[in-house]
């Protein structure tokens, strides 16, 4: 139905032309879900945008794109507007910003209908409500009169899908439709897409980097790498018996949870509670929270981000903290770093009480110097105007009172740290924008270990990275941990990564820790209903296993 032949897209940039897509062929058949996968920079999103000519003005496109035998590349803007939303529509990655903040939801859906002369204003408004109901939005009449900010990310994505569905298009192009969503919400959106493809015969071109999503929903898969198509075939073939080297590498890099019940010794050395290496009793945890609460006030209403949480991290222990957005996991990390004021409870670092009735001022800062931090976005957590060397040396300068160091020693230490994270020492003079995302995150890592911390708070350190890069960063982090034996609070929404990395795991939900225990117990044999639901929602990159998981999840849901 959709036939792409020899499509190439080149961007004009200040550094000369950049070939984003280099001559690819692609077919989407009626009623099928075709997944276009690849890592960042592979050209998959550019391909998707090229279909409806939504590329920026700096892009040049060659090749042919046909819809049911009709060439789309030669259409003028006016004719293209007849195709957009009518025959082919799109769903985008960022549901939080994809809707107009000052236009009513119903009007935004009705606009798609009115653009193509489908019915009167009243009919379009009525149809908008029906569409909201169709995509599973409760109270559709009320929602249609409301605005985007009143809805959650998952609901907004449903609205964007409703817009895409409005004119009953032949094809919906979905560019990373679930990437910004929590796994449980992702599972619901994927269920919706599958149901739509099944019931209305709509084809989907699904752009994604998530192999689990591919296994869950795709009939066929096309793999892109650096602007070229390296492999395509059915989901079964590509995911289970990949032929291209790149696909094999990509699949290998995807962290997986072992199947339920099956026990695999977790990476690293698991250490039971309260004991350090060699089984010596270490009675003092490096971080200890007792009934700590954090409340934010907003619009006069108070919101409890952290609800009487108690947790201990032993020296040298990696505690994985999982949960969905808004569960309070990042707040817990901020409390540990002293970045969020607690409204109750007790915080101890290395056995010393902090805050009210404990250490304050300089003594507190000195203690906090023994804690390192790594944040999610390697791009924005480095100052664009300081060199890599300065960024890494900064903690050494800040804490020079505690450990004085000459400029030469500091430079030597920076070189040492760069080598520790497997980057050449010459990188010290570079600026962050000259590095890739994975390299920047290693800089973040080098900075975090500069003071030889006994505890590192890592908040989603790899979620902004591609899987192959993620694997490398995690390996470096693990090696450093084994060598330096720091404790780590590892915050992530990716259960498989946490499973690979942690000794113990805590599951957070609505500000509370609902389950805490050894990694395998929590992630392979979860006890709490929420942990079970969370686990069931994670798609695995194997079509057969994923189908079983899906059936089990849907059965559990209808039973409940």
């Amino acid at each position: 139905m959709l036939r792409i032949r020899d499509l190439a897209v080149t961007f004009r940039t200040d550094d000369g032309p950049v070939e984003a897509v280099r001559g690819i062929d692609l077919d989407v058949r009626r009623g099928e879900v075709l997944a276009l996968v690849g890592e960042s920079g592979s050209g998959k999103s550019v391909t998707a945008m090229a279909v409806l000519s939504l590329l920026p003005a700096t892009a040049t496109r060659t090749g042919s794109i046909e819809l049911d035998g009709r060439e789309l590349t030669t259409l003028g803007e006016h004719e293209l507007n007849g195709v957009r939303g009518k025959e082919i529509s799109m769903v985008f990655q960022e549901p939080m910003t994809a809707l107009n903040p000052s236009m009513r939801i119903g009007d935004q859906i009705a606009e798609a209908l009115l653009n193509h002369g489908v019915g009167t204003k009243q009919e379009a408004a009525r149809r908008a409500v029906e569409l909201l109901a169709r995509v599973g939005i409760p109270e559709p009449e009320r929602r249609a009169a409301g605005y985007a900010h009143e809805m959650s990310g998952g609901q907004r994505q449903r609205v964007v899908i409703a817009i895409a569905l409005a004119c009953e298009p032949k094809l919906i192009i979905a560019d990373e439709p679930t990437t910004a969503l929590d796994v449980t919400v992702q599972a619901e959106i994927l269920d919706l897409i599958r149901e739509l493809a099944h019931s209305s015969g709509t084809s989907f071109l699904l752009v994604t980097h998530n192999m689990g999503v591919v296994a869950d929903i795709a009939d066929r898969v096309a793999v892109m790498y650096r602007g070229e198509m390296v492999e395509h075939g059915t989901a079964m073939q590509v995911l289970r018996e990949p032929t291209a080297d790149y696909t094999k590498r990509l699949l290998d890099a995807v962290p997986r949870l072992p199947e339920g019940g099956e026990t695999v010794p977790p990476a690293g050395e698991p250490e039971p509670d309260g004991t350090g290496p060699g089984g010596v009793a270490l009675p003092v945890p490096v971080l200890s929270l007792r009934e700590s609460s954090v409340t934010y006030r907003k619009a006069g209403k108070s919101f409890t981000a952290l609800d009487q949480v108690s947790i201990d991290i032993a020296a040298g222990e990696i505690l994985g903290l999982v949960g969905e957005s808004g569960s309070g996991k990042s707040t817990l990390g901020k409390v540990a770093l002293g970045l969020a004021p607690t409204s109750g409870g007790e915080l101890r670092l290395f056995g010393e009480k902090l805050g009210r009735g404990g250490l304050r001022g300089r003594a507190e800062r000195r203690l906090r110097g023994r804690v390192g931090a790594i944040f999610q976005d390697p791009g924005s957590s480095l100052d664009p105007r300081t060199t890599v060397g300065e960024a890494i040396a900064e903690p050494l300068v800040v804490h020079r009172a505690v450990r004085p160091m000459s400029g030469r020693d500091r430079a030597a230490r920076v070189r040492e740290l760069l080598e520790a994270v497997e980057l050449p020492a010459s990188y010290a003079s570079r600026f962050p924008h000259e590095l890739s995302g994975g390299q920047r995150q290693r800089i973040g890592l080098a900075r975090a270990i500069a003071l030889e911390p006994e505890l590192i708070i890592a908040d989603e350190p790899t979620s902004a990275l591609d899987v192959s890069v993620q694997a490398a960063v995690l390996r470096v982090l693990r090696e450093l941990q084994e060598r330096m034996d720091f404790a780590c609070l590892f915050i992530s929404h990716d259960l498989a990564v946490v499973h690979e990395f942690s000794h113990r795991v805590a599951v957070m939900h609505e500000g509370r820790i609902v389950e805490l225990g050894a990694t395998d117990d929590v992630l392979l044999r979860p006890q709490h209903p929420y942990s079970q639901r969370l686990l069931a929602s994670v798609p695995v990159p194997d079509p057969v296993a994923q189908r079983e998981r899906r059936v089990a999840r849907l059965a559990a849901r209808s039973a409940a």
């Binding site: 409806l52 939504l54 803007e77 006016h78 507007n81 007849g82 195709v83 957009r84 939303g85 009518k86 529509s89 799109m90 985008f92 960022e94 910003t97 994809a98 809707l99 107009n100 903040p101 000052s102 236009m103 935004q108 606009e111 798609a112 653009n115 193509h116 605005y147 900010h149 964007v160 817009i163 895409a164 409005a166 907003k298 619009a299 006069g300």
Partner: protein, 335 residues
């Protein structure tokens, strides 16, 4: 100032407790006005160490005459008592008496202020009608010839002092082309001024040009910001033609910060009016301020300062209110 508007936008659109926010702004405003009265009072006494007696009775007045005047008017009391008298007089709209005009300050300002407001509002309206489409046009044609032409023009206007700009306009349109008079219409009431619209053309143009230069730049950047928003892509993917996307989606979201900025623009407008009114001899508060400054009529000067301070506070609160009304996040709380 643009920064101040941006901050206010962020604060107001934070969503939370807009009524409480406005309540706080109101309290802040009252405090600001109190501080201004304190400064005005202090300046009155600094400018006239002998008290207002000398100003009113003249330089030839003897010490006995001054003492008698001070006793009669209560100017021999301690300063703090005088300040409270001053405050209670302001509260009922009594700004004291002019030295030179032989009438109460409130009277003089009351007669001039409406005419200044009319001139300011017409200038603002004209400026908006030109600047908003100009900003949108520049944003859409960003980096192309049209954008550069307007940007250059705006920079030239922006960097030209308004008295010079006004003079150039007078020379070209009044002296050479004889299209419009070089003098503003005279009269005591707004109606008299409006009766001769030709005379308003040059004052309005002089005042509006500066505003156009500022607001079109602001509109341009707000529109450019909004054009790169994801919702624009969503709207285009629905098949909405680009001109409609701009009209229906982008303009409204870009206008919000610009409208909020207008409230902050009010005091700037008053400053501009002093120049424009004295240049064209327009009988407004700006001219009153200018002549009072020349003749040393301190009560009038400081009365004007007080009026401008109140206008500033009211303007910024209005800006916040409009901002809250335009933002669906906060509108519900006001309803």
């Amino acid at each position: 100032m643009v920064e101040a508007a941006r901050t206010a936008v962020r604060t107001a659109s934070g969503g939370a407790g807009i009524l409480r926010f406005l309540g706080r702004r109101l309290v802040q405003g009252v405090i600001v006005i109190l501080i201004v009265t304190l400064i005005v009072f202090a300046l009155l006494h600094l400018a006239m160490p002998q008290g207002p007696a000398q100003g009113i009775l003249g330089m030839q007045a003897t010490q006995e005459q001054i003492d008698a005047f001070n006793r009669a008017n209560g100017f021999d009391r301690p300063l703090w008592q005088q300040y409270f008298t001053f405050l209670s007089q302001i509260a009922v709209g009594d700004l004291g008496d002019s030295f030179k005009l032989n009438r109460p300050v409130a009277d003089a300002i009351g007669q001039r202020l409406p005419k200044t407001l009319v001139l300011a509002l017409i200038s603002m309206a004209v400026a908006l009608i030109v600047a908003i489409p100009m900003g949108i046009y520049q944003a859409v044609r960003r980096g192309k010839t049209g954008d550069y032409v307007f940007t250059t023009m705006n920079f030239i206007i922006y960097s030209t002092p308004s008295f010079f700009l006004g003079l150039v306009l007078v020379i070209v349109f009044a002296q050479w082309l004889h299209l419009v008079p070089a003098l503003a219409p005279q009269g005591d009431t707004v109606a008299q001024v409006l009766a001769k619209p030709a005379g308003l053309v040059l004052p309005v143009a002089t005042a509006a040009l500066g505003i156009i230069a500022t607001i079109s730049r602001y509109m341009r950047s707000a529109t450019i910001d909004n054009l790169s928003e994801d919702y624009v892509r969503t709207a285009r993917a629905k098949g909405t033609p680009m001109p409609v996307v701009i009209r229906r989606h982008v303009v409204r979201n870009s206008l919000t910060p610009v409208i909020a900025m207008l409230g902050y623009y009010l005091p700037v407008m008053f400053g501009g009016m002093i120049v424009v009114e004295s240049l064209f001899n327009y009988p407004g508060m700006g001219l009153l301020f200018w002549t009072s400054a020349q003749t040393g009529d301190y009560p009038v000067l400081l009365g004007c300062v007080l009026v401008i301070a109140v206008a500033t506070v009211v303007g910024s609160i209005l800006a916040d209110l409009v901002q809250a009304l335009l933002n669906p996040r906060t509108r519900g709380e006001l309803a």
